[in-house]
């Protein structure tokens, strides 16, 4: 596999972004954190590639 994609890659990113907000609807803060943690693990497993995952961790940490 190649490198982490850091250019736009979701065909309709507004739709995805809305869905991401909706899935958090009605949750209190701990439940939101828990959901995000599950989401991270699900996506990470889908990616599977340790290099890409490492780059994603770095990118996330750097962006703050």
């Amino acid at each position: 596999m190649g490198d982490l994609i850091l250019t736009p890659n979701i065909p309709n990113s507004d739709d995805f972004y809305e869905a991401l907000l909706n899935v958090h609807e009605g949750l209190d803060e701990p439940a939101m954190h828990a959901l995000n943690a599950r989401l991270v693990l699900i996506l990470a497993n889908h990616i599977g590639d340790e290099t890409v995952l490492g780059q994603a961790l770095d990118a996330a940490r750097k962006a703050t």
């Binding site: 828990a34 943690a37 599950r38 693990l41 699900i42 497993n45």
Partner: protein
């Protein structure tokens, strides 16, 4: 002064006065082992069987009370088979392969530690540590009777040591007063608080984990399954973990996580412990408390496992959390590694450099054990909100999705170490050879028409010639190599081919005395094998 620091379960080597104590000058011994725990005794047995004179000094006269280590791994049993004490362990021990993980009361995951057949030994047995040690000492007694040059001196306390150019001078205290001896080599197997380490002023660095665990070994007649059962947040120990495991003699190991801020005295009150136990096993099951203890743990290692003529092995060199059963199992791999090297240097003309590889290989193994055991501890004892959040996310996901199973960490149970990058390895030259038997790895067992493979390859350099020609005997510079010629006819179940040939039609393996692969090729070539042997004894 000799004073008992702990109670003994079995008195195996009562104090006896010896002539060394009256000698006018200190008597010299080729190898002195400090500490007669499982690691020191294992080393003495290995050296003695190889004809190397060795002396064990222990400040007690037997095996300490309390079961402590209970899980002994397949590799440990294979090493004990080589040492001649595997059978009584497996006969007495409780065999298990299956682990189950529960969250609250629901099973969320189970694992089989030995999902394949074709091995003589099971993934694990449970056996109280005192029995494990006793069986080693019994085998030492048998070997002594057959002439093995092993000496054990109980109630002999090391009090001081001095490193000299060609030996070490030891001061030893006994019930009859002090005496001195000299050691050409000294192996410190004196446990996690190693006095030898302290006398030399050497460090022991790592991490302390802020958690307490209560062990209750109980005797009961109950038909709970013979499996490792582990709970996250069970109703009988809310917000903490718990473990249940069977031992021989109708003894069960219960382990309760308690958290950091506890009052030890309160928690060790037997009425309180009995109440906890009843809540776990059910109010109407009768039981008796056999041994209780609260432990905390740390993951630490020394920087160097060799200091001149002094070596560190077992808990003196490294300590891990109990999750994963890597303490005694890791220590036994230490002496498996050191025994043949000391023998080769003392007796076989191998260079001193071979002994450096003990540190290289076993430090590598210890780092792997510390890494695994720290990760388990972090999963069980989340150190901050993020740790806890992801731990809980894994436990949430695993009920519905298989992908989360490998992330559940209730202990990564001891596996043998593969010495990748060891200076003793020759580069892998078997195209298509299986990864599991690459240079540096311990042999995988396989059933042959003549019995199990590991029983044939025990204690000296060996060649496995599979579907290829090899001489019947091979000798180089005084090292004799036993040659095992094998073919499909020996391998009716196909395990040998699967584990040693892979996609190759033939293979030639060079195996070290500790059953680790030193090199492999598609066919026998005398020069290539000779070079590999030189490399494997540190002559390069």
């Amino acid at each position: 002064m000799i004073a008992a620091r702990y109670q003994t379960a079995f008195r195996l080597y009562p104090y006896e006065k010896v002539t060394d104590q009256e000698a006018s000058s200190a008597v010299r011994h080729p190898v002195v082992i400090i500490g007669g725990g499982p690691i020191g005794m294992g080393l003495a047995l290995d050296l003695g069987k190889k004809g190397i004179r060795c002396l064990v000094l222990d400040d007690h006269d037997g095996v300490g009370m309390g079961s402590r280590a209970i899980c002994f791994a397949k590799r440990t049993l294979e090493i004990c088979d080589r040492l001649g004490c595997g059978d009584p362990m497996v006969e007495k021990g409780v065999v298990w392969n299956l682990g189950r993980v529960y969250r609250e009361q629901e099973e969320i995951y189970n694992f089989n530690l030995l999902p394949e057949g074709g091995h003589k030994r099971p993934a694990f047995i449970n056996l109280q540590q005192p029995y494990f040690e006793q069986f080693i000492v019994e085998q030492i007694r048998e070997q002594q009777a057959a002439g093995a040059p092993i000496k054990i001196r109980g109630q002999n306390l090391l009090t001081k040591l001095e490193q000299k150019p060609d030996h070490i001078l030891l001061n030893v205290d006994t019930p009859d007063g002090p005496y001195q001896i000299e050691a050409e080599y000294l192996v410190a197997c004196d446990g996690a608080s190693s006095p030898t380490r302290n006398m030399l002023g050497l460090g022991f660095e790592g991490r302390v984990f802020e958690d307490n665990f209560l062990i209750a070994d109980i005797r009961m007649n109950a038909d709970f399954p013979v499996e490792r059962r582990f709970w996250f947040n069970p109703p009988f120990n809310p917000n903490e973990t718990a473990l249940m495991h069977k031992q021989p003699d109708d003894i069960w190991r219960l382990d309760f996580q308690l958290g950091w801020d506890i009052d030890r005295k309160v928690e060790l009150d037997s009425a309180k412990i009995s109440k906890r136990v009843s809540e776990m096993i059910g109010k109407d099951i009768e039981f008796e408390l056999v041994w209780t203890s609260i432990y905390t743990f740390r993951c630490c290692t020394m920087k160097d496992y060799r200091h001149g003529r002094i070596f560190f092995a077992g808990d003196s060199a490294h300590q891990v959390s109990p999750f994963g059963a890597r303490g005694a199992n890791g220590g036994i791999q230490d002496i498996d590694n050191l025994g043949w090297k000391l023998a080769a240097v003392l007796d076989g003309g191998a260079p001193d450099a071979l002994l450096d590889s003990y540190h290289d290989e076993r430090k590598y193994g210890a780092i792997e054990n510390i890494k695994n055991s720290s990760r388990s501890a972090d999963f069980l004892t989340p150190r901050n909100a993020a740790h806890e959040m992801f731990r809980d996310a894994v436990l949430d996901l695993v009920k519905d999705f298989e992908f989360a199973q490998p992330m559940v960490n209730s202990g990564r149970l001891s596996m043998p170490c593969t010495y990748d990058a060891s200076p003793l390895n020759s580069a892998d030259a078997l195209v298509g050879g299986p990864t599991r038997t690459r240079p540096g790895s311990p042999l995988s067992d396989a059933p042959l028409s003549s019995g199990y493979l590991l029983d044939h390859v025990a204690g000296q350099f060996a060649i496995l010639a599979i579907n290829c020609d090899a001489p019947e005997v091979f000798e180089i510079d005084g090292i004799s190599v036993e040659v095992h010629s094998l073919s499909g006819a020996d391998d009716s179940e196909g395990h040998l081919a699967e584990r040693y040939l892979g996609r190759s039609g033939s293979a030639l393996y060079l195996v070290r005395p500790d059953q680790h692969v030193a090199g492999r090729w598609p066919a026998f070539d005398a020069d290539t094998v000779a070079t590999a042997i030189q490399k494997a004894i540190g002559r390069e």
